[in-house]
Protein backbone atom coordinates (compact mmCIF):
# COMPACT_ATOMS: atom_id res chain seq x y z
CA UNK A 1 0.00 0.00 0.00
CA UNK A 2 1.67 3.19 -1.15
CA UNK A 3 0.30 6.68 -1.58
CA UNK A 4 1.99 8.58 -4.36
CA UNK A 5 0.56 12.02 -3.63
CA UNK A 6 -0.05 14.03 -0.48
CA UNK A 7 -3.31 15.38 0.83
CA UNK A 8 -4.29 18.74 -0.75
CA UNK A 9 -1.81 18.24 -3.59
CA UNK A 10 -2.91 19.25 -7.09
CA UNK A 11 -3.42 16.28 -9.42
CA UNK A 12 -4.21 15.98 -13.12
CA UNK A 13 -6.19 13.36 -15.09
CA UNK A 14 -4.38 10.05 -15.39
CA UNK A 15 -2.05 10.80 -12.50
CA UNK A 16 -1.18 7.81 -10.33
CA UNK A 17 -2.58 8.40 -6.83
CA UNK A 18 -1.90 5.17 -4.99
CA UNK A 19 -1.22 1.49 -5.32
CA UNK A 20 -2.66 -1.28 -3.21
CA UNK A 21 -5.69 -1.72 -1.01
CA UNK A 22 -7.41 1.65 -1.39
CA UNK A 23 -10.99 2.44 -2.33
CA UNK A 24 -11.48 4.74 -5.34
CA UNK A 25 -14.09 7.37 -4.43
CA UNK A 26 -15.17 10.50 -6.35
CA UNK A 27 -13.23 11.32 -9.53
CA UNK A 28 -10.84 8.40 -9.28
CA UNK A 29 -10.75 4.94 -10.81
CA UNK A 30 -8.92 1.67 -10.38
CA UNK A 31 -6.93 -0.04 -13.07
CA UNK A 32 -5.44 -3.28 -11.81
CA UNK A 33 -3.60 -2.46 -8.60
CA UNK A 34 -3.33 1.27 -9.22
CA UNK A 35 -5.71 4.16 -8.59
CA UNK A 36 -5.67 7.15 -10.92
CA UNK A 37 -7.29 10.57 -10.89
CA UNK A 38 -9.81 11.38 -13.63
CA UNK A 39 -9.93 15.12 -13.21
CA UNK A 40 -7.82 18.16 -12.49
CA UNK A 41 -8.29 18.94 -8.83
CA UNK A 42 -7.11 18.61 -5.26
CA UNK A 43 -6.36 15.20 -3.78
CA UNK A 44 -8.08 14.14 -0.58
CA UNK A 45 -8.24 10.92 1.41
CA UNK A 46 -10.23 9.73 4.40
CA UNK A 47 -8.97 6.43 5.71
CA UNK A 48 -8.44 4.35 2.61
CA UNK A 49 -11.01 6.20 0.48
CA UNK A 50 -9.31 8.34 -2.13
CA UNK A 51 -11.02 11.22 -3.90
CA UNK A 52 -10.23 14.31 -5.92
CA UNK A 53 -12.06 17.62 -5.41
CA UNK A 54 -12.42 19.13 -8.88
CA UNK A 55 -11.20 22.65 -9.62
CA UNK A 56 -13.76 23.04 -12.38
CA UNK A 57 -16.80 20.99 -13.24
CA UNK A 58 -20.30 21.33 -14.57
CA UNK A 59 -23.33 21.24 -12.28
CA UNK A 60 -25.10 17.87 -12.13
CA UNK A 61 -28.41 18.15 -10.25
CA UNK A 62 -29.08 16.01 -7.18
CA UNK A 63 -32.28 15.57 -5.19
CA UNK A 64 -32.84 18.28 -2.54
CA UNK A 65 -30.41 20.73 -4.13
CA UNK A 66 -31.49 24.35 -3.93
CA UNK A 67 -31.06 25.93 -7.36
CA UNK A 68 -31.68 29.31 -8.93
CA UNK A 69 -32.82 29.08 -12.54
CA UNK A 70 -34.27 31.06 -15.37
CA UNK A 71 -37.53 30.21 -17.14
CA UNK A 72 -36.72 29.54 -20.79
CA UNK A 73 -40.00 28.08 -22.06
CA UNK A 74 -43.67 27.88 -21.09
CA UNK A 75 -45.28 24.58 -22.09
CA UNK A 76 -48.72 22.98 -21.76
CA UNK A 77 -48.13 21.51 -18.35
CA UNK A 78 -45.21 23.39 -16.93
CA UNK A 79 -42.08 25.44 -17.47
CA UNK A 80 -38.60 24.66 -18.68
CA UNK A 81 -35.92 26.12 -16.45
CA UNK A 82 -32.27 26.71 -17.30
CA UNK A 83 -30.37 25.67 -14.18
CA UNK A 84 -26.83 26.16 -15.48
CA UNK A 85 -26.42 22.42 -16.09
CA UNK A 86 -26.21 20.14 -19.14
CA UNK A 87 -29.76 19.06 -18.34
CA UNK A 88 -32.68 21.52 -18.58
CA UNK A 89 -35.04 21.23 -15.61
CA UNK A 90 -38.80 20.88 -15.69
CA UNK A 91 -41.05 22.77 -13.30
CA UNK A 92 -44.43 21.01 -13.61
CA UNK A 93 -47.70 22.92 -13.18
CA UNK A 94 -48.70 20.53 -10.38
CA UNK A 95 -45.81 21.84 -8.33
CA UNK A 96 -46.93 25.44 -8.74
CA UNK A 97 -50.74 25.33 -8.45
CA UNK A 98 -52.32 21.94 -7.76
CA UNK A 99 -53.51 21.23 -11.32
CA UNK A 100 -52.24 19.26 -14.27
CA UNK A 101 -52.36 21.91 -16.96
CA UNK A 102 -51.71 25.61 -17.16
CA UNK A 103 -54.95 27.57 -17.56
CA UNK A 104 -55.42 28.69 -21.15
CA UNK A 105 -54.86 32.30 -22.09
CA UNK A 106 -53.04 34.21 -19.43
CA UNK A 107 -52.07 31.01 -17.60
CA UNK A 108 -48.44 31.39 -18.47
CA UNK A 109 -48.45 34.73 -16.70
CA UNK A 110 -47.71 33.16 -13.32
CA UNK A 111 -44.17 32.67 -14.50
CA UNK A 112 -42.96 34.10 -17.77
CA UNK A 113 -39.93 33.48 -19.94
CA UNK A 114 -36.99 35.30 -18.40
CA UNK A 115 -38.25 35.12 -14.82
CA UNK A 116 -35.83 33.86 -12.21
CA UNK A 117 -36.99 31.23 -9.75
CA UNK A 118 -35.59 29.74 -6.60
CA UNK A 119 -36.47 26.06 -6.62
CA UNK A 120 -35.62 22.71 -5.15
CA UNK A 121 -34.78 19.57 -7.11
CA UNK A 122 -37.30 16.82 -6.31
CA UNK A 123 -36.21 14.17 -8.80
CA UNK A 124 -32.94 13.77 -10.59
CA UNK A 125 -31.22 10.90 -12.21
CA UNK A 126 -29.22 11.38 -15.32
CA UNK A 127 -31.60 9.32 -17.44
CA UNK A 128 -34.37 11.93 -17.32
CA UNK A 129 -34.51 15.69 -17.01
CA UNK A 130 -34.57 16.86 -13.39
CA UNK A 131 -37.87 17.99 -11.82
CA UNK A 132 -38.16 21.11 -9.69
CA UNK A 133 -40.62 22.33 -7.12
CA UNK A 134 -41.32 25.76 -5.66
CA UNK A 135 -43.64 24.38 -2.97
CA UNK A 136 -41.62 25.13 0.11
CA UNK A 137 -40.82 28.06 2.32
CA UNK A 138 -38.76 30.74 0.64
CA UNK A 139 -39.02 29.21 -2.82
CA UNK A 140 -40.64 30.74 -5.88
CA UNK A 141 -40.26 33.66 -8.22
CA UNK A 142 -37.45 36.07 -7.42
CA UNK A 143 -38.68 39.65 -7.43
CA UNK A 144 -35.70 41.60 -6.17
CA UNK A 145 -31.99 41.38 -5.52
CA UNK A 146 -29.04 40.63 -7.73
CA UNK A 147 -27.81 37.31 -9.04
CA UNK A 148 -24.28 36.34 -9.90
CA UNK A 149 -22.84 33.18 -11.33
CA UNK A 150 -19.78 31.53 -9.87
CA UNK A 151 -18.19 28.20 -10.67
CA UNK A 152 -20.31 25.36 -9.15
CA UNK A 153 -17.11 23.80 -7.80
CA UNK A 154 -16.61 26.84 -5.55
CA UNK A 155 -20.06 26.60 -3.91
CA UNK A 156 -18.94 24.37 -0.99
CA UNK A 157 -16.27 26.95 -0.13
CA UNK A 158 -18.76 29.81 -0.25
CA UNK A 159 -21.03 27.93 2.14
CA UNK A 160 -18.17 26.79 4.36
CA UNK A 161 -18.16 24.06 6.98
CA UNK A 162 -21.74 23.81 8.36
CA UNK A 163 -22.49 27.11 6.64
CA UNK A 164 -19.81 29.03 8.54
CA UNK A 165 -18.73 31.23 5.63
CA UNK A 166 -22.20 32.08 4.36
CA UNK A 167 -23.54 32.75 7.88
CA UNK A 168 -20.63 35.07 8.53
CA UNK A 169 -21.39 36.95 5.30
CA UNK A 170 -25.06 37.23 6.23
CA UNK A 171 -24.27 38.45 9.72
CA UNK A 172 -21.69 41.02 8.71
CA UNK A 173 -23.66 42.44 5.80
CA UNK A 174 -27.19 41.96 7.20
CA UNK A 175 -28.25 40.94 3.68
CA UNK A 176 -30.23 37.93 2.58
CA UNK A 177 -28.11 35.46 0.62
CA UNK A 178 -29.39 32.47 -1.31
CA UNK A 179 -26.83 30.09 -2.69
CA UNK A 180 -27.96 27.76 -5.46
CA UNK A 181 -25.97 24.53 -5.71
CA UNK A 182 -25.80 25.24 -9.45
CA UNK A 183 -23.42 28.14 -8.96
CA UNK A 184 -25.99 30.95 -8.98
CA UNK A 185 -26.10 33.23 -5.94
CA UNK A 186 -28.90 35.66 -5.13
CA UNK A 187 -27.97 38.69 -3.06
CA UNK A 188 -30.75 40.85 -1.64
CA UNK A 189 -29.81 43.88 0.42
CA UNK A 190 -31.41 47.13 1.46
CA UNK A 191 -29.19 49.25 -0.75
CA UNK A 192 -27.58 48.61 -4.15
CA UNK A 193 -24.22 49.68 -2.72
CA UNK A 194 -24.34 46.91 -0.17
CA UNK A 195 -25.26 44.37 -2.85
CA UNK A 196 -22.23 45.53 -4.81
CA UNK A 197 -20.05 45.05 -1.75
CA UNK A 198 -21.30 41.53 -1.05
CA UNK A 199 -20.85 40.56 -4.71
CA UNK A 200 -17.25 41.80 -4.60
CA UNK A 201 -16.62 39.71 -1.50
CA UNK A 202 -18.16 36.60 -3.10
CA UNK A 203 -15.90 37.09 -6.10
CA UNK A 204 -12.89 37.21 -3.78
CA UNK A 205 -14.04 33.95 -2.19
CA UNK A 206 -14.39 32.38 -5.62
CA UNK A 207 -10.94 33.52 -6.70
CA UNK A 208 -9.17 32.49 -3.52
CA UNK A 209 -11.30 29.43 -2.75
CA UNK A 210 -8.35 27.11 -2.30
CA UNK A 211 -6.19 29.20 0.00
CA UNK A 212 -5.77 28.70 3.73
CA UNK A 213 -7.24 31.07 6.30
CA UNK A 214 -9.73 32.48 3.83
CA UNK A 215 -12.52 33.04 6.38
CA UNK A 216 -10.39 35.41 8.48
CA UNK A 217 -9.31 37.43 5.46
CA UNK A 218 -12.89 37.67 4.20
CA UNK A 219 -14.08 38.85 7.61
CA UNK A 220 -11.34 41.49 7.64
CA UNK A 221 -12.24 42.61 4.12
CA UNK A 222 -15.96 42.82 4.96
CA UNK A 223 -15.34 44.88 8.07
CA UNK A 224 -13.03 47.34 6.36
CA UNK A 225 -15.36 47.73 3.38
CA UNK A 226 -18.42 48.28 5.59
CA UNK A 227 -16.54 50.84 7.66
CA UNK A 228 -15.39 52.50 4.44
CA UNK A 229 -18.95 52.73 3.14
CA UNK A 230 -20.17 54.12 6.47
CA UNK A 231 -17.55 56.86 6.38
CA UNK A 232 -18.37 57.72 2.79
CA UNK A 233 -22.03 58.20 3.71
CA UNK A 234 -21.10 60.27 6.75
CA UNK A 235 -18.96 62.83 4.91
Amino acid sequence: MTLHVEKRQIVTPGELLAQGDYYPDLNTFREGDSIYSTIMGIFDHRGNRLSVVPLKHCYIPFVDDLVIGKIVDVGMSGWMVDINSPYPALLPATEVMGRQHLPRGDGGRILEVGDLVKAKVIAADRTRDPLLTIRDRGLGKISRGRVLKISPSKIPRLIGKDGSMINMLKKESSCSLNVGQNGVVLVTCETPEKEELVIDVIKVIEREAHTQGLADRVLELMKSRIRGEGNAEGT
Partner: protein
Protein backbone atom coordinates in the same frame (compact mmCIF):
# COMPACT_ATOMS: atom_id res chain seq x y z
CA UNK B 1 4.48 25.87 -55.62
CA UNK B 2 7.38 24.62 -53.55
CA UNK B 3 9.93 22.32 -55.18
CA UNK B 4 11.01 18.97 -53.83
CA UNK B 5 14.30 19.47 -51.97
CA UNK B 6 17.28 17.52 -53.32
CA UNK B 7 18.23 16.07 -49.97
CA UNK B 8 16.17 15.79 -46.83
CA UNK B 9 19.11 14.78 -44.63
CA UNK B 10 22.58 16.22 -45.34
CA UNK B 11 25.92 14.38 -45.22
CA UNK B 12 26.42 15.37 -41.56
CA UNK B 13 23.16 13.71 -40.61
CA UNK B 14 21.19 16.91 -40.05
CA UNK B 15 17.68 17.37 -41.34
CA UNK B 16 16.51 20.38 -43.36
CA UNK B 17 15.47 22.31 -40.25
CA UNK B 18 18.75 21.47 -38.50
CA UNK B 19 17.47 18.66 -36.28
CA UNK B 20 19.04 15.26 -35.64
CA UNK B 21 16.95 12.29 -36.85
CA UNK B 22 15.63 11.44 -33.37
CA UNK B 23 15.16 15.06 -32.30
CA UNK B 24 11.69 16.54 -31.67
CA UNK B 25 10.63 20.08 -32.39
CA UNK B 26 10.36 22.32 -29.32
CA UNK B 27 6.84 22.29 -27.87
CA UNK B 28 5.08 25.08 -26.00
CA UNK B 29 1.78 24.33 -24.28
CA UNK B 30 -0.71 26.70 -22.70
CA UNK B 31 -3.97 25.73 -21.02
CA UNK B 32 -7.03 27.87 -20.42
CA UNK B 33 -6.23 30.71 -22.80
CA UNK B 34 -9.81 31.38 -23.93
CA UNK B 35 -12.66 32.77 -21.82
CA UNK B 36 -15.73 31.58 -23.71
CA UNK B 37 -15.29 27.81 -24.09
CA UNK B 38 -15.39 25.62 -20.97
CA UNK B 39 -11.86 24.44 -21.67
CA UNK B 40 -9.12 25.52 -24.05
CA UNK B 41 -5.49 24.91 -24.92
CA UNK B 42 -2.85 26.16 -27.31
CA UNK B 43 0.09 24.25 -28.73
CA UNK B 44 3.11 25.52 -30.58
CA UNK B 45 5.31 22.78 -32.01
CA UNK B 46 7.98 24.20 -34.28
CA UNK B 47 5.98 26.16 -36.80
CA UNK B 48 2.70 24.41 -35.94
CA UNK B 49 0.25 26.61 -34.08
CA UNK B 50 -3.05 25.09 -33.00
CA UNK B 51 -5.75 26.34 -30.69
CA UNK B 52 -8.42 24.05 -29.22
CA UNK B 53 -11.69 24.95 -27.55
CA UNK B 54 -13.95 22.46 -25.74
CA UNK B 55 -17.59 22.93 -24.81
CA UNK B 56 -19.39 20.58 -22.59
CA UNK B 57 -20.89 18.50 -21.33
CA UNK B 58 -23.87 20.47 -22.58
CA UNK B 59 -27.36 19.94 -23.96
CA UNK B 60 -27.29 18.19 -27.30
CA UNK B 61 -28.64 19.74 -30.50
CA UNK B 62 -29.99 18.34 -32.78
CA UNK B 63 -31.92 16.22 -30.28
CA UNK B 64 -31.99 13.05 -32.43
CA UNK B 65 -28.25 12.58 -31.89
CA UNK B 66 -28.77 11.94 -28.19
CA UNK B 67 -27.42 8.72 -26.68
CA UNK B 68 -29.33 7.51 -23.61
CA UNK B 69 -26.36 6.05 -21.77
CA UNK B 70 -23.44 8.33 -22.55
CA UNK B 71 -22.25 11.61 -23.99
CA UNK B 72 -21.76 12.11 -27.69
CA UNK B 73 -18.30 13.38 -28.57
CA UNK B 74 -18.06 15.63 -31.60
CA UNK B 75 -14.84 16.94 -33.03
CA UNK B 76 -14.12 19.43 -35.76
CA UNK B 77 -10.63 19.95 -37.08
CA UNK B 78 -10.28 23.03 -39.24
CA UNK B 79 -7.37 24.66 -41.00
CA UNK B 80 -7.37 28.44 -41.25
CA UNK B 81 -7.16 29.76 -44.82
CA UNK B 82 -3.80 31.33 -43.94
CA UNK B 83 -2.40 28.21 -42.26
CA UNK B 84 -0.51 26.90 -45.30
CA UNK B 85 1.86 28.37 -47.86
CA UNK B 86 -0.86 28.57 -50.47
CA UNK B 87 -4.26 29.84 -49.38
CA UNK B 88 -6.43 26.98 -48.25
CA UNK B 89 -10.02 27.05 -49.39
CA UNK B 90 -12.01 27.59 -46.20
CA UNK B 91 -14.60 24.96 -47.18
CA UNK B 92 -14.10 21.72 -45.21
CA UNK B 93 -11.93 19.42 -47.30
CA UNK B 94 -11.87 15.63 -47.39
CA UNK B 95 -8.65 15.74 -45.37
CA UNK B 96 -10.13 17.90 -42.61
CA UNK B 97 -13.15 15.65 -42.28
CA UNK B 98 -10.88 12.63 -41.97
CA UNK B 99 -8.62 14.27 -39.39
CA UNK B 100 -11.68 15.33 -37.36
CA UNK B 101 -12.76 11.70 -37.19
CA UNK B 102 -9.27 10.47 -36.39
CA UNK B 103 -8.81 12.99 -33.55
CA UNK B 104 -12.21 12.10 -32.12
CA UNK B 105 -11.42 8.41 -32.18
CA UNK B 106 -8.01 8.99 -30.59
CA UNK B 107 -9.62 10.89 -27.69
CA UNK B 108 -12.71 8.73 -27.17
CA UNK B 109 -10.97 5.98 -25.16
CA UNK B 110 -9.64 8.61 -22.74
CA UNK B 111 -12.83 10.46 -21.83
CA UNK B 112 -15.52 8.85 -19.68
CA UNK B 113 -18.70 9.66 -21.61
CA UNK B 114 -20.83 7.38 -19.41
CA UNK B 115 -20.55 10.04 -16.67
CA UNK B 116 -22.59 12.47 -18.74
CA UNK B 117 -25.48 10.61 -20.43
CA UNK B 118 -27.64 12.49 -22.98
CA UNK B 119 -25.15 15.32 -23.39
CA UNK B 120 -22.55 16.32 -25.93
CA UNK B 121 -18.89 17.24 -25.68
CA UNK B 122 -17.78 19.47 -28.56
CA UNK B 123 -14.12 19.74 -29.46
CA UNK B 124 -13.00 22.43 -31.91
CA UNK B 125 -9.46 22.14 -33.21
CA UNK B 126 -8.37 25.20 -35.15
CA UNK B 127 -5.04 24.92 -36.94
CA UNK B 128 -3.68 28.42 -37.37
CA UNK B 129 -0.35 27.47 -38.93
CA UNK B 130 0.50 24.01 -40.25
CA UNK B 131 3.88 22.42 -40.77
CA UNK B 132 3.30 18.68 -40.63
CA UNK B 133 2.05 16.51 -37.78
CA UNK B 134 -0.94 18.71 -36.98
CA UNK B 135 -3.22 15.80 -36.13
CA UNK B 136 -0.82 14.78 -33.37
CA UNK B 137 -0.41 18.32 -32.10
CA UNK B 138 -4.20 18.67 -32.25
CA UNK B 139 -4.67 15.55 -30.11
CA UNK B 140 -2.14 16.77 -27.54
CA UNK B 141 -3.87 20.15 -27.23
CA UNK B 142 -7.39 18.70 -27.34
CA UNK B 143 -6.74 16.35 -24.42
CA UNK B 144 -5.47 19.31 -22.39
CA UNK B 145 -8.55 21.34 -23.31
CA UNK B 146 -10.79 18.45 -22.22
CA UNK B 147 -9.01 18.27 -18.88
CA UNK B 148 -9.32 22.05 -18.53
CA UNK B 149 -13.08 21.79 -19.11
CA UNK B 150 -13.29 19.56 -16.04
CA UNK B 151 -14.38 16.50 -18.00
CA UNK B 152 -13.56 13.15 -16.40
CA UNK B 153 -10.78 11.37 -18.26
CA UNK B 154 -8.98 8.10 -17.72
CA UNK B 155 -5.72 9.60 -18.92
CA UNK B 156 -4.32 12.40 -21.07
CA UNK B 157 -3.64 11.43 -24.67
CA UNK B 158 -0.16 12.16 -25.97
CA UNK B 159 0.72 11.93 -29.63
CA UNK B 160 3.62 12.37 -32.00
CA UNK B 161 4.58 11.25 -35.47
CA UNK B 162 7.55 9.24 -36.64
CA UNK B 163 8.58 8.15 -40.10
CA UNK B 164 11.28 7.32 -42.58
CA UNK B 165 13.24 9.87 -44.57
CA UNK B 166 16.13 8.93 -46.90
CA UNK B 167 16.22 5.47 -45.39
CA UNK B 168 16.52 6.76 -41.82
CA UNK B 169 13.94 6.56 -39.07
CA UNK B 170 13.17 10.11 -37.95
CA UNK B 171 10.98 11.58 -35.25
CA UNK B 172 8.39 14.37 -35.54
CA UNK B 173 8.32 14.94 -39.30
CA UNK B 174 7.69 18.42 -40.60
CA UNK B 175 5.85 19.32 -43.79
CA UNK B 176 8.58 18.64 -46.40
CA UNK B 177 9.62 15.34 -44.84
CA UNK B 178 5.98 14.35 -44.66
CA UNK B 179 5.49 15.12 -48.36
CA UNK B 180 8.73 13.80 -49.84
CA UNK B 181 9.82 11.25 -47.24
CA UNK B 182 9.23 7.52 -47.51
CA UNK B 183 6.88 6.96 -44.58
CA UNK B 184 4.92 8.86 -41.94
CA UNK B 185 3.34 7.25 -38.90
CA UNK B 186 1.29 9.24 -36.37
CA UNK B 187 0.90 7.52 -32.98
CA UNK B 188 -1.26 8.52 -30.02
CA UNK B 189 -1.08 6.75 -26.67
CA UNK B 190 -2.33 6.97 -23.10
CA UNK B 191 1.11 6.71 -21.48
CA UNK B 192 0.14 5.82 -17.90
CA UNK B 193 -2.26 3.10 -19.04
CA UNK B 194 0.08 1.86 -21.75
CA UNK B 195 -2.59 1.88 -24.44
CA UNK B 196 -2.46 3.00 -28.05
CA UNK B 197 -5.43 5.09 -29.19
CA UNK B 198 -4.28 5.99 -32.70
CA UNK B 199 -1.84 4.53 -35.15
CA UNK B 200 -1.82 5.31 -38.84
CA UNK B 201 0.82 4.76 -41.49
CA UNK B 202 1.39 6.36 -44.82
CA UNK B 203 4.21 4.83 -46.94
CA UNK B 204 6.20 1.70 -46.31
CA UNK B 205 8.27 0.46 -43.37
CA UNK B 206 9.85 -2.95 -42.91
CA UNK B 207 8.90 -4.85 -39.80
CA UNK B 208 12.18 -3.99 -38.14
CA UNK B 209 11.87 -0.33 -39.10
CA UNK B 210 8.32 -0.27 -37.82
CA UNK B 211 9.40 -1.56 -34.46
CA UNK B 212 12.19 0.98 -34.14
CA UNK B 213 9.89 3.79 -35.26
CA UNK B 214 7.18 2.70 -32.83
CA UNK B 215 9.62 2.65 -29.92
CA UNK B 216 10.72 6.15 -30.88
CA UNK B 217 7.10 7.29 -30.96
CA UNK B 218 6.39 5.82 -27.51
CA UNK B 219 9.42 7.55 -26.12
CA UNK B 220 8.35 10.86 -27.67
CA UNK B 221 4.79 10.53 -26.39
CA UNK B 222 6.01 9.93 -22.84
CA UNK B 223 8.09 13.10 -22.99
CA UNK B 224 5.11 15.02 -24.32
CA UNK B 225 3.02 13.55 -21.49
CA UNK B 226 5.33 15.22 -18.97
CA UNK B 227 4.99 18.55 -20.76
CA UNK B 228 1.19 18.16 -20.71
CA UNK B 229 1.18 17.46 -16.98
CA UNK B 230 3.35 20.54 -16.37
CA UNK B 231 1.07 22.73 -18.46
CA UNK B 232 -1.98 21.50 -16.53
CA UNK B 233 -0.28 22.12 -13.18
CA UNK B 234 0.49 25.67 -14.25
CA UNK B 235 -3.19 26.07 -15.11
CA UNK B 236 -4.17 24.71 -11.68
CA UNK B 237 -1.90 27.23 -10.00
CA UNK B 238 -3.73 30.01 -11.81
CA UNK B 239 -7.13 28.53 -10.90
CA UNK B 240 -6.28 28.08 -7.24
CA UNK B 241 -4.78 31.55 -7.00
CA UNK B 242 -1.39 30.32 -5.80
CA UNK B 243 -0.11 32.18 -8.82
CA UNK B 244 -2.28 35.08 -9.87
CA UNK B 245 -2.88 35.58 -13.59
CA UNK B 246 -1.79 38.93 -15.02
CA UNK B 247 -5.41 39.89 -15.57
CA UNK B 248 -6.17 39.34 -11.88
CA UNK B 249 -3.41 41.64 -10.70
CA UNK B 250 -4.82 44.45 -12.84
CA UNK B 251 -8.26 43.99 -11.31
CA UNK B 252 -6.98 44.18 -7.73
CA UNK B 253 -7.56 47.51 -6.09
Amino acid sequence: MQKAPERLIDENGFRLDGRRPEEFRPIKLQVGILDNPDGSAFIEQGKNKIIVGVYGPREIHPKHMVLPDRAVIRCRYRMAPFSTEERKNPAPSRREIEISKVIREALEPAVMPEYYPRTVIDIFVEALQCDGGTRCAGIVAASLALADAGISMRELVSACSVGKVEGQIVADLFDLEDKYGEADMPVAIMPNLNKVTLIQMDGKLSRDEFERAFEMALDGCRKIRNLQAEALKRRCEVLTGTEMPEKGSLEAH
